[in-house]
């Protein structure tokens, strides 16, 4: 029983990180019907940037004072989000916008190409080996304070929730309530008509990439602080999981992407624990194929454009 609870907690942490990345897939697919294959790699770059900032620029070690760590982590999150947002907007501008009116396959191939480009940039700068940092978050079991020692809820896991949950809530609020959020929804439903109502469609699409990139960056920071390791092809595994989450929830559907991510987080954790970590990617692929075959509209329903 303890083991199951423990696996569930790990799954929840995975799922929250996947959710931030999954939203980027779903937002972009919802608005331009493109599977942005480079998105997982933007997340990977986020974790690389965070690693560079934490151990290189700020020189944080396990010995740094807790207050400084809090301040630095907050700064790293903001800086990384800004950088990955910029990267994502640049990708849209260079690789996707010129192909906006081309057949659907063209931007898809462009996205795959972009994914290779980002991976190779990381490979060039960081090299092929795993890059790791010291664990800078306290490794106490928070449950030990209430007398539970058989299940661990580490500070790191709480940290994951502290960063991701407000971002997820803020994101839903933004899309539902703000004017820019309404422009995004209108553009996703019918870009031509959104333009006729005065929405700057290009700017709105760029803004969607900005948000997706920022969320992927935050996910990158959280992942490096949670797992303490990153590598040039990390985007593949996370991208696969996040994309599957988005499809499972119903692509284009934002609450769906979060739900899908929480499910995928559990699938990963339970597969790692009870099957074998080697099999996890295969199982995720099977889930993806299963969803596409049996329930292509996902759990909560696709939300795509009304155009024919």
């Amino acid at each position: 029983m303890d083991q199951i609870v423990q696996t569930f907690i790990i799954g929840l942490s995975n799922g929250l990180i996947f959710a931030l990345v999954a939203l980027g897939y779903s937002l972009v697919y919802g608005i331009i019907e493109l599977i942005n294959f480079a998105h997982g790699d933007v997340f990977m770059l986020g974790s690389m940037i965070a690693l560079l900032l934490i151990s290189g620029v700020f020189g944080v070690t396990a010995a740094t004072s807790p207050l400084m760590i809090v301040i630095i982590v907050a700064a790293v999150i903001l800086i990384t989000m800004a950088v990955t947002a910029t990267i994502n907007v640049t990708i849209e501008r260079l690789a996707y916008r010129p192909l906006r009116n081309a057949p659907k396959l063209a931007p898809l191939i462009s996205a795959i190409g972009m994914s290779f480009v980002l991976q190779n940039i990381a490979l060039l700068i960081a090299g092929p080996a795993n890059k790791s940092i010291d664990n800078v978050l306290p490794s106490v079991n928070l449950l030990s304070y209430i007398g539970v020692n058989t299940v661990e809820l580490s500070f790191r896991q709480v940290f994951v929730a502290v960063v991701t949950v407000p971002l997820l809530i803020g994101m839903s609020w933004f899309v539902a309530k703000t004017k820019q959020g309404k422009a995004m929804r209108a553009t996703a439903q019918d870009p031509d008509t959104a333009g006729l109502m005065g929405v700057d469609v290009n700017r709105t699409i760029a803004f969607t990439f900005l948000i997706g990139g920022a969320l992927a960056g935050a996910a990158g920071v959280v992942q490096i602080l949670y797992n303490n390791v990153t590598v040039w092809n990390l985007g593949f595994r996370f991208g696969l999981n996040a994309f599957t989450s988005a499809v499972l929830g119903g692509i284009g559907n934002l609450p769906g992407a979060v739900l899908g991510a929480l499910v995928l987080g559990q699938i990963n954790a339970f597969s790692d624990r009870y099957v074998a970590a080697n099999w996890t990617n295969a199982i995720v692929f099977m889930v993806l194929i299963g969803v596409l075959v049996f329930k292509p509209t996902g759990l909560l329903g696709q939300q795509l454009a009304d155009r024919a």
Binding site: A186, D190, D192, M197, G198, V199, D200
Partner: protein, 236 residues
Amino acid sequence: MALLELNDVHTYYGAIHALRGVSISVEDGEIVTLIGSNGAGKSTTLRTISGLLRPRQGTVSLGDKRLDGLRPHQIVQLGVCQSPEGRRVFARMTVHENLEMGAFSRKEKTKIASDFERVYGLFPRLKERTAQRAGTLSGGEQQMLAIARALMAAPRVLLLDEPSMGLAPILVEQIFEIIKTINQQGTTVLLVEQNALMALGIANRGYILQTGEIVLTDDAHKLAANPEVKRAYLGG
């Protein structure tokens, strides 16, 4: 000078030459109707004015400002708003949100609030359904919403593409009454219609479009009396 003016406009879809030198002028305060059979290029004309299509040749201007080459949202900001063919309401947004989208490029909060009152006054049916998702409205209600949404832009020139399409006769009457009212309140209207008889009934002037060319233009009542027009477009 005309408020809205198209001068020798040529628009293409790839190799298809859809508008072959269209010239139309709409004076401030007028209702002008554009009539033509299916595929004549009426929607293409409106899409060109709104910047969804770019003319390969010719100019579109609003007063002394050139519209051709501008992007759709910029044209809306200059005061030209279109209610497109086939309703095109935002199905997953509520009635209220759809109307907010109409007012997207406006800033004056109090005027927007009073325009909400105005369009709800014109379309009481929509007022009862403010929180309903537009996709679940009936076809006629969606058409009302599409027109109301365009009104929320408070445009100087309102482009309407087949506002009566798919409506019951009594609703058609109502819609045309509303167009007349809007016009009397100061909005210039360019109206595309299949229902030529009704359109000529409220318009000041009309243009007849045939395979991408204007073949005839005259005062509306003269067009309505023209035997050729009668035979081709008025079913008698």
